[in-house]
Subunit: 121 residues, 2 copies
């Protein structure tokens, strides 16, 4: 039997909308998500989970109330549970997120950027 | 405050031994590990967890009893809990693994390739 891996480049070619996570895999109760981002997201936090960010293409800033981290391709950061953060990117940036299944992208905030559905590709 | 991400390339420059995972970060109860591999690993399985593989450099085969998956850079695969597998790489390959803290690299098998320690870099 030939098993097939998940190719991130192939997956990113399947969608173009921003801030709209696509689930590409699951391990245990965690979802692996790909997201295209550009501009500013919403300040929010996740009260019950850390959040894993890995930049695959482009450059991402994650702002905190007392500073920020800048991530380039091949760089990752874990935002601790409960820590307010606001991702932003000047140019389109492609990132991989890992978080528990059911985690809402805007955490404790509900607004126009909130995505309730689980979209697999 | 300036926060710092984990740069995989910088981390890989800090070690050269094969099949010896280095922990670079943690989220919730999961460890993010970098590993350099070459040659064949041990057939094993993890009875209580799925295992996340992402290839960052080189090419990795993960053999199963009924087939295999071949992963190139930017490709990932989740080995399901309990599924026997044997990673191998013809040339040196750099991978990222995610698994629960305390997961033993050789799973249900203990041999010369077993790493008991948690080595952070």
């Amino acid at each position: 039997m030939e098993y097939i891996g998940v190719n991130f480049k192939d997956k990113f070619e399947k969608f173009s909308d921003l801030w709209m996570p696509r689930i590409v895999s699951q391990f245990n109760n965690y979802h692996i998500k790909l997201v295209k981002v550009k501009g500013e997201f919403t300040w929010h936090n996740h009260t019950d989970t850390d959040e894993f960010f890995l930049v695959l293409d482009g450059s991402l800033d994650i702002h905190f109330r007392d500073g920020k981290v800048k991530l380039d391709p091949g760089e990752m950061f874990v935002v601790p549970k409960g820590m307010e953060h606001k991702p932003s990117a000047e140019k389109e940036c492609h990132i991989l997120l890992i978080e528990p299944a059911g985690t809402i992208n805007t955490g404790n905030i509900v607004n126009a950027m909130t995505v309730q559905e689980n979209i697999w590709i």
